[in-house]
Amino acid sequence: MRSACLALASLLSASAAAAGAQAPATGDVGVSANVDGVCRLGPPSRPSVDLGELANRSGIRVGRLAALADAIVTLPGTYCNFGGTQVTLRAEALVQTELSQPPPGFARAVNYSATVRTWAEEPPLITTTASVDGDSPADQDSGGTEPAAKLTDLVLAFFGFSVPSDARLVAGTYQGLVTITLGPAGTGPAQGE
């Protein structure tokens, strides 16, 4: 039994000597992966913008557009992990949802301007131009190109509310839709409805 043990030890030693004598073989092993381009818009600070009562209840401008405060929606944590991106804003004027044709002297649309700040240097800016009967409510604009990946709190702002011809507003519920698209520049916005 003892001799057998020795023989095994000697074999091990020989093997180690043989390895040490040869030159090591080396090479580069590529470790690769990729990261897709991703843009994400953060959750809006409020799901909808309710401007409340649009018309004055009393005073010299009773029945006409009230002085509406600017409205702000933030989309915190918005990012793209690649450069060459832009924000596109599509917005519709607020249009009374029931009537089709307002009586003479009345309007059923409230126009406004809107912009999306803190992405590229040049923000998108739209001003809706719906007519008194609510036709052609939509406007759309793309901002400049952001050259690098970016993480920011996007700010959607509404301001400059007006009524065509400053007419009186027919009673009812008014609504417009706003869509923000963030993606590679020049690809055009999604036609969200």
Partner: protein, 185 residues
């Protein structure tokens, strides 16, 4: 040697992979922007500052009976509007001798009835006759929002108790006309 050549190949593949990776576009919306306009009505302003229908002397001074040619220029409520369906209501109270007290002597009356009318708002004018048992046309409904002038007039003067009664002397006979615009359900 095989291992060495394999390395660059893998790196190249990774490079192309990045270049052709699908860029994701993010869309938020459509988010609604909403507002409301309440149903509002405003009766506008009167064409005359005093707002008084001046009928003048009520009686024929030779007979003491109510004149049959009484009139007063109509009043115009300018810039009236309602932002939705509305009703217009006209109500009136008769012209009553203000200084005399108690019941008038036999053969006399201290009250003059008349008819008030508000036109221009609804297809049929709102009409109210003082002293009438019923005024079915006093309330009229307009189906749509409207802005425009309302012409308010009075006429058809009659002596309460009958044309055979004379009017008691009084420096002031006074009545009233009230026009109300209100949102309709």
């Amino acid at each position: 040697m095989k291992l060495v050549s394999f390395g660059p190949a893998a790196l190249l593949a990774a490079g192309f992979g990045a270049a052709f990776a699908q860029s994701s576009t993010a869309i938020a919306g459509p988010h609604p922007v909403t507002g409301t306009v309440p149903v509002l009505c405003a009766a506008g302003t009167l064409s005359d500052d005093d707002g008084v229908f001046a009928v003048g002397i009520l009686v024929d001074t030779s007979t003491g009976f109510l004149r049959n040619d009484l009139s007063a220029p109509p009043k115009v409520l300018q810039g009236s509007f309602c932002t939705s369906k509305s009703t217009i209501t006209v109500e009136a109270s008769p012209m009553v001798a203000q200084a005399s007290t108690g019941a008038p002597p036999e053969g006399f009356s201290d009250t003059v009835n008349f008819t008030a009318m508000a036109e221009g708002w609804t297809p049929s004018p709102a009409v109210f006759t003082t002293g009438a048992a019923a005024n079915l046309n006093a309330v009229q409904t307009r189906e749509t929002a409207f802005t425009g002038d309302i012409v308010v007039s009075i006429g058809d003067f009659t002596t309460e108790g009958g044309q055979a009664l004379r009017l008691v002397e009084d420096p002031l006979y006074q009545g009233a006309v009230v026009v109300t615009l209100a949102p309709a359900d």
